[in-house]
Symmetry: C2
Subunit: 365 residues, 2 copies
């Protein structure tokens, strides 16, 4: 990557962060979301969050399970015409109640449904990781651009008050010059039949699922884009959970300022942690990126001061902030702070992490 | 490294750890130490610790500064005959008050003074890192063996109650199967004229000085020997402190069980931390390896339980435990738990870390 491009990305990242607290023009009515995929996240996490939104509402559901779809629609007062299967999904173009399609499907299906949504004339929110390859991300961005629709990635931490405050502290020099960031994200995967453990659906293991939080943290705590990556994987392939995807993967990122990030994800231990260490102190989050209950500390050598009440984020919850942000961007014509380009940046790095682990060597970005 | 050799090392490491709490035969009189090097560590840290020892006493000083040597000798009631310069050092063979020579010199002088001490018929304690190369370590071990003298490395953490308890917890399965260890050790080097920043004296930068604690932690918390290493260095060579040695260095170690360690040392930020994460919980030390004031936590996901009173170590302080251990080993004929071989193991890994960082690739051990 040449310096000009790097500077541009740095500037873009800064702008995104700084603008995250700025109120956008609100839409004159709540925008309608169609939730694609009624799994644990779409149904269990996202749909209940519309109750916390100011500018967003549930307008349709898309599911392969007609009974579940009918039940959810009934619970939320949606008409029969707001229920789609994967086969009838493209007809969503004719539903003026739906402004945005939120793709909560397994990773390998993101590209197809984002592109179909854009072609149906809808704006798109896509869960992270954006796709299973950078090439898919490029096609998704192009499809949304061609349709003149917004594309945003579900990076909820950019709307989470403790993470936002940690970013602000890092940018303000509260810890001095950031020398390194460390982040580990993992949990114990129990059920070997989960789609996240099937490569054809997930595109990869703990890195795709949890590691992307550590990667994001490295980037948003430094405010820089990495120039080199080095990775090491450790997976017990005899473990039935890990026949197809990696368990542990560790990677180091080198940033232009000389800062280094040491990141890790795994499916065989619990950990959820971010620390940024500068030459004047540190900023630490643990748990760092949970749905709630995150903690933030600053200090010179340890957890000397806890920030219990960070400035509120842009929404009543991180999820509501995320959902409303896209609605506001559509109303105001702005780009989302976590756009398709942001998702693509992560996938390019993720591909380099996997390649480095496979080849046992440092990869320049 | 073949599997048999690895098993042997593992067994040796386990035995060392398990035996660390066992009382050894005590010598019938306190053994006499000659302190070589009256710098910050030898004079400021070690000499005051004889007051805490049961089996060790100060018997001589070796210094290039005659006035300082006379002052220290007077303060501790040593006769004129207990004062040596580097030129007269070899005459220490004729001093029956001196049983052990403790080498507290800059790293590049360790080999010479350990070998001269062994040739003078003295047992030897040598500060860490044992030397500036594995080749030197081999010669040092050979010299002590030829003289039939004990050689121990000043790995004080093996006598520090919080670290000992953390090792015991890790071995006992308190955190389940250890999946990874992470350790960072660093502080802000202020004075560019320090010997630790001169390669000819130090042999390397933060890795040689502080990184060796992280490396030790990775080994003693897993109880395993690494089979591969991958490292990345980040140093601002325009910084006058870092014209000759590295600032930040990150490295990953892969262990035979599949556990991974992510380690780091630096001279541009403060950090002193060890965490071992298993599939049932975690064991965390912060600060981890200070002279005092270390803290130990266990928990499932966080710092849920603090161990404020670990079982006492083998000495009144970690330093006294270390000093007396060698005296006891001499009396009982046992090998020190942190012998020259232990120092050599670290130097071999350190050389691989530097090589990996230089070549940008994984090095098999």
């Amino acid at each position: 990557m040449d310096l000009d491009r790097r500077d541009l990305l740095l500037a873009a990242a800064s702008t995104a962060l700084l603008s995250s607290g700025i109120a956008h023009a609100a839409p004159d009515r709540p925008l309608g979301y169609a939730i694609v995929g009624l799994g644990m996240y779409g149904l269990g996490v996202i749909i209940p969050q519309f109750a916390n939104c100011a500018h967003s509402r549930l307008a349709a559901v898309v599911s392969g399970d007609p009974a579940k779809a009918r039940r959810v629609a009934a619970e939320h007062g949606l008409p029969e015409s707001a229920i789609y299967s994967y086969e009838t999904f493209d007809r969503i173009r004719d539903n003026p109640d739906v402004d945005i399609v939120y793709v909560c499907l397994p990773n390998s299906m993101h590209a197809e449904y984002v592109i179909r949504a854009a072609r149906a004339g809808k704006h798109v929110m896509c869960e992270k990781p954006m796709a299973v390859s950078a090439a898919e991300c490029v096609r998704m961005i192009a499809a949304c651009k061609a349709a003149n629709r917004k594309l945003m990635i579900g990076y909820r931490c950019h709307f989470e008050p403790f993470n936002l405050e940690a970013m602000r502290l890092a940018r303000s020099g509260a810890a001095g010059r950031i020398r390194y960031v460390r982040s580990e994200h993992g949990f114990i995967q129990g059920d070997p039949s989960k789609w996240r453990l099937r490569r054809a659906l997930s595109g990869g293991g703990s890195l795709m699922d949890m590691g992307i939080y550590a990667l994001q943290a490295a980037r948003y705590m430094t405010g820089e884009e990495p120039v080199a990556v080095q990775a090491l994987e450790s997976t017990d392939r005899t473990d039935p959970r890990f026949h197809e995807v990696e368990d542990q993967i560790d990677w180091q990122l080198l940033f232009p300022s000389g800062a280094v990030a040491g990141c890790k994800s795994m499916y065989s231990a619990n950990q959820n942690h971010i620390i940024a260490v500068g030459d004047k102190g540190r900023i630490e989050l643990e748990p760092a990126t949970r749905y709630d209950g995150n903690h933030l500390w600053t200090g010179r050598d340890g957890r000397e001061h806890e920030t219990t009440s960070p400035p509120p984020g842009p929404g009543r919850t991180q999820f509501a902030g995320q959902l409303d942000h896209l609605a506001e961007c559509i109303a105001s014509g702005r780009e989302p702070i976590v756009s398709g380009e942001e998702g693509l940046r992560d996938l390019r790095i993720i591909e380099a992490i996997y390649r480095s682990a496979r080849e046992g060597r440092r990869i320049e970005l």
